[in-house]
């Protein structure tokens, strides 16, 4: 049984991380493409249409994988966590069903309208892309509503050993959910923005399609400026909230062992959970620790020693993931605002080092956002539903062979899909904008590059 629990957890981590390689780009990029479509509808400027076509194509390649990996998420609560599903069903299933009815139908129908109608019904382009954008963002809200309950259960009673819904209003207004929603969605906008910035930088470095990529860069930059500022802000208040409702997770963020007021912030630490201390605490800044947890230099912070050892998460995993995520967050903030500075000075195109940095930064927001999920999910352990059910009690009574089969299949098949996806994204990103000949028109000599025909 111990193996089944371990493998089920590994499988959940694998499926959620694979899924979250696609979702953030979907969430961020769709808003940018919808904005481009709106600009095209307003101005009639062909540049915006070409931008929407180009980034929209990269969006659809990525979107397909997001959909495919998402179904696994919904199925595996039943397949692998059936005890959890029995316990939580009265509350947890509803957001998933609402997500499908409210969001999935919307995005899947209108992505079809956009994709197959963009030449036939040009007037529907902006509308359909906005419907997809609304669908994907609503979908994030409902799945996070479900997850928010696991983090901070509200609006329930327990009857016959199972959760029973007491107040739907409390479930959907769960404060934890809303912090998480804005944090996740804004962080996804960083992923989308840095994707556009990085790909644009690639072409700007080669001085090709300069007008096209400068305009694209501008779209990405605006989103990056807003999102990189907003995420740390939301994150800060989420941290304070976490300290209130999940003190064990919060204490693990900074590896705080001793409870007390006036906590310092330590620039460099190495947690040592076996001895309930940090191996090294270097560079203490007085009061800043308390400030981070409570918004006050003298605030009281609960330390890990005041939490029973069997109710603490894996401290080093949470600590290092949190550090790296926050560090990356500030890196994005610096990169985005330095970009604005270069832009205002008119030096963007000459700053090859900065453009290269942006190009190589494309994967970093993906890393940061997945580390965020590691913090959230591993930080909640050993609980699957905080304070109510332990992860070890939640697993399905399935055979070891079954889970070995599914885990192997998922890893092998997902990997094959990702290889194909990255290949296509790279191919189409590098190829640059291609103008398909307009409906019914004959190709004008020399205007369309020969490789356009290969589309």
């Amino acid at each position: 049984m111990a193996e089944v629990i371990l493998l089920s957890r590994i499988q959940f981590a694998v499926t959620v991380i694979y899924h979250f390689l696609f979702v953030p780009l979907t969430l961020g990029l769709v808003v940018l493409v919808a904005l481009m479509e709106t600009r095209y509808a307003r101005t009639g400027n062909e540049l915006y249409r070409r931008m929407a076509d180009y980034w929209g194509k990269l969006f659809t390649i990525n979107f397909a994988l997001g959909i495919v990996t998402g179904i696994t998420m919904e199925f595996q609560f039943g397949t692998n966590w059936s005890e959890y599903s029995k316990f939580m069903g009265d509350i947890f299933g509803s957001p998933l069903a609402i997500e499908a009815l409210l969001a999935f139908f919307l995005e899947s129908t209108f992505i079809g309208v956009w994709l197959f109608g963009k030449e036939r019904f040009p007037k529907l382009r902006a509308l359909s892309m906005w419907m997809v954008a609304i669908g994907t963002n609503i979908s994030a809200l409902w799945i996070i509503t479900a997850n928010g309950f696991m983090q901070n259960p509200v609006g329930y009673t327990i009857q016959d050993g199972r959760i029973k819904l007491e107040s739907f209003l409390q479930v959907v207004t769960n404060s934890y959910t809303w912090y998480m929603f804005f944090h996740t969605v804004l962080a996804s906008y960083i992923v989308g923005a840095f994707f556009v910035l990085g790909v644009s930088a690639y072409h700007l470095l080669r001085k090709q399609h300069v007008e096209f990529y400068k305009k694209s860069f501008q779209f990405g930059l605006v989103m990056a400026l807003v999102a990189t500022l907003a995420v740390p802000l939301v994150g800060h208040f989420q941290g304070i909230h976490t300290a209130k409702v999940q003190p064990a997770k919060a204490a693990a963020f900074e590896a705080v062992w001793e409870s007390g007021p006036n906590q310092p912030f330590t620039v460099f630490s190495i947690p040592d959970p076996a001895n309930e201390r940090n191996l090294l605490d270097w560079g203490k800044i007085p009061g800043v620790g308390s400030l981070m947890y409570t918004n006050s230099f003298s605030g009281y912070v609960t330390g890990l020693k005041d939490i029973p050892a069997d109710q603490r998460p894996n401290v080093p995993a949470v600590f290092w993931s949190f550090r790296l995520m926050v560090g990356l967050g500030f890196l994005f903030l610096g990169l985005a605002w330095y970009g604005l500075y270069l832009w205002r000075k008119g030096r963007l195109l000459d700053s090859r080092r900065y453009l290269k940095l942006l190009l190589y930064s494309i994967p970093l927001p993906y890393v940061a956002i997945n580390l965020g999920w590691v913090v959230t999910e591993m930080g909640r352990q050993p609980w699957i539903v905080y304070g109510l059910m332990k992860t070890s009690q939640a697993v399905s009574p399935i055979a070891l062979g079954d889970i070995l089969f599914s885990l192997t299949g998922l890893v092998v098949f997902y990997t094959s899909l990702i290889v194909a996806d990255v290949y296509l994204l790279h191919k189409y990103a590098v190829r640059g904008p291609v103008d398909p000949p307009a409906e019914g028109s004959v190709k004008r000599g020399g205007k369309t590059p020969a490789r356009a025909a290969q589309a």
Partner: protein, 342 residues
């Protein structure tokens, strides 16, 4: 409304969601199965892609909704059904991966290996899903192998004669659906060819359907409810009438009418099975006392009420804009205009 009434209403909605999935994804999956065999040129491949391109994704969402509704309204059934059918469900998932990605990625590169791999992935994924959905639900109607001590259902117990017959019957019906749908959607040489495919597939379908009905009458408890309330026989009778009507229309070359008639067959056959299982939702073939009824599995009255309101508001909205999308893409796809996934 009393808890029991709510639970019964939700049983009906639950069944309808699954039936919508069988019917709608049935034709898109069927196109995937026929895809490598019926197209004679890249133009025709693109025509085929466009017959399902704007719709398959929305059709698949009916499965996600059915799964979500099972979880929300009948958590116990969701937990048991999904863990008892563990391996087949993962195989269905793997099939869905390759159906989707095969279709969307196939024409995004010119490499011969690339194209062949994704084409066969599209085919294989679609086939696997159709067969396993048929097998799984035939077994749901027949009964799974579990008792008070736990689950003994596995792939081998599911692959019994009745299960396999269910899978093949569903396969043949999806081919009739796919053939008539594509014949309706395209013009050019492909149109006539697909009409022939639908006509031929119909003969296979009626043969298998007859066998499946006989097996259902003899091997399962499905008809008990019908014998208790004979007027219910109108449902399977209409299914048979629709099956005959499908051939009548297809023979006359009226592809759309044939498609609707055949869709009705799939829908009503599903309905027959769900009526037969009522009020059970999980039937145990090994220990009838262990079967789970809808009353035992239902969520709390509050959850059921909220979800009922949600469904009553949203399902008609979804159907409305999906119909709007179908109307937007109602013109026949000409070979020279087809772009497919591009």
């Amino acid at each position: 409304m009393s808890h029991e009434t709510l639970a019964v209403i939700w049983f009906g909605l639950w069944a309808v969601l699954w039936m919508m999935y069988f019917t709608l994804d049935g034709y898109t999956l069927g196109v995937g199965i026929l895809y490598p065999f019926v197209s004679r040129s890249e133009r025709e491949e693109k025509q085929l892609q466009e017959t399902v391109g704007p719709f398959w994704n929305g059709n698949e969402v009916w499965l996600i909704t059915a799964g979500g509704a099972t979880f929300a309204a009948f958590p116990l059934v969701y937990a048991m059904m999904f863990s008892y059918l563990y391996v087949p469900l993962f195989l269905i998932l793997f099939g869905l991966f390759y159906r989707a990605i095969g279709l969307e990625f196939m024409h995004k590169d010119r490499g011969r290996f690339w194209r062949a791999s994704w084409k066969w992935a599209f085919f294989g994924g679609s086939l696997l899903v159709v067969l396993l959905v048929g097998v799984a639900f035939a077994n749901m109607f027949y009964g799974l192998a579990f008792d008070a001590h736990g689950n003994q259902t596995n792939v081998l117990t599911l692959l019994n004669t009745y299960g396999i017959l269910g899978g093949l019957t569903f396969l043949s019906l999806t081919l009739v659906s796919a053939g008539s749908w594509v014949a309706h959607k395209v013009s050019g040489p492909l149109e006539g060819r697909m009409l022939s495919v639908a006509n031929v597939a119909w003969f296979v379908a009626i043969g298998l359907y007859g066998l499946f009905m006989v097996a259902t009458a003899n091997r399962t408890q499905v008809l008990d409810n019908f014998n208790r309330l004979p007027f219910l026989y109108v449902v399977p009778a209409l299914a048979v009438v629709a099956l005959v009507a499908a051939k009548f229309y297809l023979g006359k070359g009226r592809a759309l009418a044939g498609f609707f008639a055949n869709s009705l067959v799939i829908f009503l056959t599903g309905a027959t099975g769900f009526i037969g299982m009522f009020p059970n939702m999980l039937i145990s073939a090994t220990d009838p006392a262990a079967s789970v009824t809808l009353y035992e599995a239902a969520a709390s009255p509050r959850t059921l009420t909220i979800m009922l309101v949600v469904a009553v508001v949203l399902v008609p909205a979804v159907i409305t804009y999906q119909l709007w999308a179908y109307r937007k893409f109602a013109t026949k796809i000409k070979p020279e205009e087809a772009k497919g996934y591009h």
